[in-house]
């Protein structure tokens, strides 16, 4: 059995009286894209810093690529921090090579990989340009290159889309998919749900340092009561699985429109089957798939700062 790329077991991190991460357990299997979702202050960055051994947990156990967190694994990890910055006077190429060397690459290998990444990110014309002369967006691409120069097995991206324009967000999404295709495990934290929705195979949702959900997107969405809009002749209230109904008005020729909220665990398909077998006349049956944003709000509460 393959060891998980990342494992946290009952990890707690306290700073004085403040508990940043509280009894957090989860594991990320090798390969795929794992979303680390939470509002500001949910404990995402603290968790990633513990994974990188930048700070140590107060209690609990962490395994990264099958071993305890240490800089020895730096050669197999790529990390893009939330707060980004680089040496302003260094050139693009020197910067990427330097980080490659810090990740235990030889000078030649680091240079070769750096050149390839710089080309992949469309920066080949700027290879010799000092970073101080680059726009913020281009500098962020360079930062991404420093994270990926060692072709890491595990990629940790902390709020990778923040500060990027829509075009570069698309480029980054492509890069993440490509990394995943090539076998890397990508874990990224975000509070922008649309990226998670497009990219993640599995999700972890955090609120105030505690895990509130772990699973696939479908499982997440299943956690939210399903909502339907039906066109029928009578109020569907009382049908099995229906929690509440609300009239949305007439739909002409004696038909009425209703919004139905199913009871937790009830399946829209089951309701359709009941209607069919019981002869409950239907003219319309629309299932509203909940967005991840709604799931998140439902699971972690409305006071968490998130972006759709």
């Amino acid at each position: 059995m393959t060891a998980p790329a990342l494992l946290l077991d009952k990890v707690t991190k306290r700073f004085g009286d403040f508990t940043a991460v509280d009894d957090l357990s989860f594991e990320v299997a090798t390969g795929g894209v794992f979303g680390f979702l939470g509002g500001n202050g949910a404990g995402k960055t603290t968790s990633l810093r513990m994974v990188l051994d930048i700070i140590r947990p107060t209690s609990g156990r962490i395994e990264v690529l099958g071993a305890a967190p240490s800089r020895e694994a730096a050669g197999r990890i790529g990390f893009l921090p939330e707060e980004r910055g680089l040496y302003r006077l260094m050139t693009v190429l020197d910067t990427v090579v330097y980080f490659g060397r810090l990740k235990r690459m030889s000078a030649g290998a680091a240079r070769k990989a750096a050149m390839a990444l710089i080309e992949r990110l469309g920066l080949e014309d700027r290879a010799k340009t000092p970073l101080v002369k680059l726009s913020k967006g281009l500098a962020q691409k360079v930062q991404l290159a420093t994270a990926l120069v060692n072709e890491p097995d595990l990629v940790l991206l902390d709020e990778p889309f923040s500060g990027l324009d829509p075009v570069n967000q698309g480029v980054l999404e492509d890069v993440i998919r490509e990394l995943s295709r090539k076998g890397s495990t990508v874990i990224f934290s975000t509070h922008v749900m649309q990226h998670a929705e497009r990219l993640c195979d599995r999700l972890l949702m955090l609120a105030r340092g505690r895990k509130v959900f772990e699973g696939t997107q479908d499982e997440a969405k299943a956690a939210l009561p399903s909502r339907l809009t039906v066109i029928c002749r009578a109020d569907p209230k009382g049908l099995p699985g229906v929690a509440t109904t609300a009239s949305l008005g007439d739909a002409a020729e004696g038909w009425s429109r209703f919004e139905i909220t199913l009871a937790p665990g009830a399946d829209p398909g089951g309701l359709l089957e009941v209607c069919t077998t019981q002869g409950f006349a239907l003219r319309g049956f629309d299932i509203h798939r909940p967005a991840l944003h709604e799931v998140f709000i439902h699971l972690v509460g409305g006071d968490q700062e998130i972006v759709r």
């Binding site: 930048i54 800089r71 707060e83 980004r84 260094m90 810090l102």
Partner: protein, 507 residues
Amino acid sequence: MRAVLLVAAREMRQVLATRGFWVTLLIVPVAIAGALFASTHFAPHLNAAFTLVDASRRYAPRIEKRLTLDYQRDVLRDLSAYVDRWKLASVDPGAAWAQHDAWPPDAEVERFIAAGGVDAALRRLKPRLPADAPAFELPEQAFVEIAPPRGVPTTQGPEAFGRAVAAPMRGEIATPDGKRPFTVAVYIPQNFGEPGVPVRIWTNGRFNEGLIGTIREQLTTALRQNALQGAGLSPDVATRIQTLSAPIQVSEPPADARRSVIVTRSIIPLALVYLLLITTFTTGSLMLQGMIEERSNKLLESVLATIRPSALMYGKLLGLGAVGLLIVVVWSGCAVAGVLSSHNAISDVLRSSLQALDQPWIAPALIFYFLSGYVMVSMLFLTIGSVSDSMQDAQGYLMPVIILIMLPVVVLMQVSLRTPDSPVMHVLSWIPLYTPFAMLSRLGQGVPLAEMLGTGAMLIVFVALELALLGRVFQASLLSTGQPPNPAAFLKLMFQRDSASRSPRGK
């Protein structure tokens, strides 16, 4: 170690890529080269022209003899130093120039002149002169006597002489040594010696105390001689009375303990104290700026994901330390090259200062105290940078630290030359913060080996503790934000065992 070297190399490259560094590095060599060139090509002539008219025909020879003797004394002293430097005294141990007398009496100077003066001496020395020895250079004569300028009357009394000489005294005048400022004109009236008859002296505004003092002394002596003879004393008795002087015997310590020797031997160690101060504060400020830039640029988290904070810390100390040492090596190398390539009084003194390295343990001790002082001060700057988000934040720590280091060091550098055995020097030697400075200051004067070993061991322990304790502050503060820690919080960080678990400030 690999990470330390990578960080060190990056730090070095970053500094070497700045124009400011090269200006700093080259400023001293350029200054040395400029000084050497200027001293060779544009050295100002210090001598001046004067004219002497003795209408009485009685006093001029006495004044001129005195001036000649004084100048020949200078020649003899310089020649003695030249003979000493090139170890030529054995050519004629009895010669006046082999005596190394600090102030040869008139009789000795007259003996030197009678033996043929400097020309005869150089002829005798020439066969034994080393091939690389430069030619002996005569000291410049302070006063060059010239004949009264053409058109200046010398027989129409002082008023006519004074009126006529005023014009040529406004500028330079031709002398056997070339054009020189015409500074003094002296007129001794025919009836000088009668009551109320003065010697008249005109100057060009630059009062020449030495020349006028000599003239006054000689004329006074002549008048006293006349007075003594007039009182009935024979000329011989009068002369003997005039030449009477109180016998004084000055005893000096052995040659290697004289103050001049102590000062000479202290030149290199004291120069190292200055270099230590300059380079630690220069590279310390680079460390400070670098740390603040890294913190404000938010790039530390990327770096810390790949290497330990201690590797970052030691890499910075090593890289910027190497920059500082490069400055020291280049500056010292240029100074040594300048000394070796020139042959003047200053270079002679600096050559003598190399005697401070005559003991085998001195050079290693100099290097040890220099490097440990370097690490000690640099670590302070690095730590201040690690807790500061801006130079404004850093100022709060910098000023006390700079005052704490600078004030006692400036004091000890003064004291070390005046009173090397002062208790202040001994006390400061045992305070680790000042040990490198105090011991470097004292090394040229001889320090007991036990004291050197004791202070050295204490310094090693102190620097190790400093690296460990301030290292914790450094590590804990790298990713923190908000206000820098107050003194209590700073101390807490120093003694917090697992600094990696400290809360990021403001997080």
